[in-house]
């Protein structure tokens, strides 16, 4: 039996159903891999060329260099740069697809999508030096889309979001240290080129480029995705939702959307409203069509449409084990090929939709933006028709759901704190200065069977809000805390410290704010910029009393995200280190030296309670350096 450290009853229950049917899930597959390769874990394995594969003996008896002569520092740094490039590439492609869709919409070629937030379109267009007065909306959209797409292929200069949004001092730090990205794709391509044998063999140089590549993600690809999705699908506002496997209904057709890009999930939600499809469902004995989400795409349609969240990415197999998922529609990233195994026992239809993301044994229906709604209806129809194939004896839905509030964004905070006529961040800055709010912590990222299968996010969040730290969350971490009931205003009364409780009560917010999907981590960057702009709490992002953690990371995307926050001046905690600990120098750079360059640094701490202490200590140190008032209720 596998020990799962989560306290989420739905996960534990459905895991048992799967075990009773002898079905393997991620937990069994993880155990089978133990003990994992020491060389891999330490980052001392290099497979970049045919002189190898090479490994360096961490215990000093075997070789200290690879065949080409690269030592542990070079090998670990090269591997880290490639991981960061892979993560940045994912977000970059995601942003690129949204930008391409914006162009199609502007040219009238993607009639199922439209510009929902004209005001945001205009304000972003102005940032790109586009005239907006007396210009038709589609013309503005076309010019913006073309300018943004150009930045993906830009060869020199700087990214507009990095020129316009961060404080001057921040830009100075990047420019002086030569880590200001020139374009979005170029840094990723150069990362691959540099890590070829015999190019960059200076670990510090490799790590500098790691930061540059990551910055081109956070302030580039990810930010493009966030901003353009707000423009196309509407800027989120606080919205009620429900989370956990209990949102799946026995009496309805259940279609689960899984993956990342809302181009697909938004259309599935629309398609499910089709009268003919609902009729078909009713004819087959269902009461209607229920759409639920898993992983980041769930967060996107939750933030904008309040669609229920079945779970986070660690529960993707368990959702199928409820027996009531008639179709699971996936696009890209974080979709486990292992889904195929568990779906063999159930009637669930697995449907992949992206030419970039195919799975052997999964039905493939190619999604395209030009004919989006029709393709979405075709997919929903397959799910509806599959309702007839349910195996009644395998239906076991755990009775677990929690209410949650999501939908917080950088822009909404202005309105939330000041209303329509006096929109401002002032109350937030004042709360921090006066000592009601100690600082802000970002808890983001994945869940990992290696660590706590998600429980650490709940532990961390509770420790932080107990000490008056306002917590903002994204991704699977947000879904996990939502499952524990922390994303409700009532949670402030139960778990928050006195100062934070007062603020939550005054404004009417939960102590943990859901900012969206993983590309929406860019919202944390822009919110930090607003805090600096409002004044009184530092002149650059590294001076802010903030800290971040992607405690249970699994994805290379998390490495990229962590690096763009470190490169922007933040402290970032990972529960297990990325594979570099075989090189003492690389570890020292990440955990100490980088602080002298950007003001940010990495912390690797496997105990969530200790991690919370480290984050709070860091926030306290920043408060001291800013000479802020002592905490009000300490």
């Amino acid at each position: 039996m596998v020990e799962i450290k989560t306290e989420d009853k739905a996960t534990l229950e459905t895991k048992k159903f799967a075990e009773e049917l002898n079905l393997e899930t991620i937990w069994e597959r993880y155990l089978a891999q133990l003990p994992q390769c020491g060389f891999g874990q330490l980052g001392l394995c290099c497979k970049n060329c045919n002189f190898g594969p090479c490994r360096i003996d961490p215990f000093g008896e075997g070789p200290k260099v690879g065949v080409c002569g690269a030592d542990a520092d070079v090998i670990a740094a090269r591997n880290l740069l490639r991981h960061t490039a892979a993560g940045a590439a994912c977000h970059s492609d995601h942003g690129r697809e949204i930008a391409q869709t914006l162009l199609l919409v502007a040219e009238g070629k993607a009639k199922n999508y439209t510009i929902k937030d004209e005001a945001k379109l205009k304000s972003v267009a102005k940032e790109f030096d586009i005239q907006v007065d007396n210009k038709p909306v589609f013309q503005i959209a076309k010019e913006l889309a073309l300018k943004i797409l150009a930045e993906f292929g830009q060869q020199e200069g700087e990214l507009t979001f990095m020129k316009v949004r961060p404080p001057e001092k921040q830009k100075k730090i990047w420019r002086e240290n030569k880590i200001m990205p020139r374009g979005i794709d170029i840094e990723i391509v150069e990362a691959m080129a540099r890590t070829h044998m015999g190019v960059d063999n200076d670990y510090k140089n490799l790590l500098h480029h790691t930061m540059k590549t990551a910055l081109a993600d956070g302030w580039g690809g990810s930010m493009v995705a966030t901003e353009l999705c707000d423009i196309l699908f509407s800027s989120p506002k606080p919205i009620r939702g429900k989370v956990n496997l209990g949102v799946l209904k026995e009496n309805m057709v259940n279609i689960v959307v899984h993956g990342h890009v809302p181009l697909l999930s938004e259309m599935i939600v629309e398609a499910a409203k089709d009268k003919e499809l609902i009729e078909l469902a009713k004819k087959l004995g269902a009461e209607g069509i229920n759409i639920a989400g898993i992983c980041c795409t769930a967060n996107e349609i939750l933030m904008r449409k309040g669609i229920p969240v079945a779970g986070n990415m660690l529960q993707q197999e368990l959702a199928i084990a409820t027996g009531v998922v008639d179709a699971m529609v996936v696009d890209i990233q974080c979709v486990m090929p292992g889904l195929k195994e568990i779906s063999k026992c159930y009637h669930t239809k697995l449907i992949s939709t992206h030419p970039k993301g195919k799975f052997v044994g999964m039905e493939y229906v190619e999604f395209n933006e030009e004919d989006a709604l029709n393709v979405a209806k075709e997919i929903v129809k397959k799910g509806v028709e599959n309702f007839a194939n349910r195996k009644k004896e395998l239906v076991k839905i755990p009775n677990e759901t929690k209410d949650l509030i999501a939908g917080f964004t950088t822009e909404y905070i202005h309105y939330m704190l000041g209303g329509k006529y006096r929109s401002t961040y002032r109350p937030l800055n004042d709360a921090i200065r006066d000592g009601r709010i100690r600082g802000i912590a970002g808890l983001v990222g994945c869940n990992n069977p290696k660590l706590f299968s998600g429980q650490s996010h709940v532990i961390l969040a509770k420790e932080l809000i107990k000490k008056d730290v306002l917590v903002v969350e994204t991704g699977c971490a947000a879904i996990e805390c939502a499952k524990a009931g922390l994303l409700t205003p009532e949670a402030a009364f139960e778990f928050a410290g006195k100062g934070l409780k007062e603020v939550c009560e005054a404004v009417g917010i939960p102590p943990v704010l859901h900012l969206g999907s993983c590309v929406d981590n860019s919202r944390i960057l822009t919110a930090c910029c607003e805090i600096v702009k409002e004044g009184g709490i530092g002149n650059s992002l590294d001076e802010l009393p903030v800290a971040g953690a992607a405690f249970e990371w699994y994805s290379e995307k998390a490495i990229a995200i962590g690096w763009y926050f470190v490169a922007s001046g933040a402290l970032v905690v990972f529960g297990t280190p990325f594979p570099v600990t075989g090189s003492k120098n690389v570890v020292k750079f990440c955990t100490e030296d980088v602080e002298k360059i950007t003001g940010g640094k990495w912390v690797f701490e496997p105990d969530p309670i200790k991690a919370a202490e480290i984050m709070i200590e860091h926030i306290n140190k920043k408060r001291e350096q800013l000479k802020l008032k002592p905490m009000m209720y300490e």
Partner: protein, 141 residues
């Protein structure tokens, strides 16, 4: 008597057994911290490559152990369960055992020596557990 057998057809030379052995005989028993210990832990097992054959080898726990006869202080001894064991407190560091072992299975540890102890405190020896191709297995002879 329990012994560790290797199927050389299955050994791919990945050295997972070497790492597992060193970590098992470290103070912190965690690969991330073991590499920072002073002194560094030592693997009792070695992956050798000769004449195109890869083999992971350690002490064979010989019935008539040459190291036991060579030992001047009775630090090397045959235990009741038939395994050859080493008592660090009695070892004077003469290294005669290293000279006589036909398999080169004994290693220097600062002034004294170390060798495979068959991980008797574990359910399965660390090297066997770590072998991903099941080349190493415990057999009862």
């Amino acid at each position: 008597m329990k012994k560790i057998k290797i199927d050389i057809k299955k050994c791919v030379g990945c050295k997972s057994c070497e790492i597992a052995c060193a970590v098992e005989h470290s103070k912190t028993k965690n690969v991330f911290t073991a590499i920072y210990e002073e002194p560094l832990p030592i693997s009792r097992r070695k992956v050798e490559y000769t004449n195109g054959i890869i083999i992971s080898d350690a002490c064979h726990h010989c019935e008539e152990a040459l190291c036991v006869s060579a030992c001047m202080s009775q630090a090397m001894y045959k235990d009741k369960d038939g395994t050859t064991q080493h008592d660090e407190t009695k070892c004077v560091g003469c290294w005669m055992c290293i000279m006589v072992c036909p398999f080169g299975a004994i290693k220097r540890k600062e002034k004294i020596v170390v060798k495979c102890d068959l991980c008797r405190e574990r359910e399965t020896p660390a090297c066997v557990e770590s072998c991903h191709t099941k080349a190493l297995e415990v057999v009862n002879l």
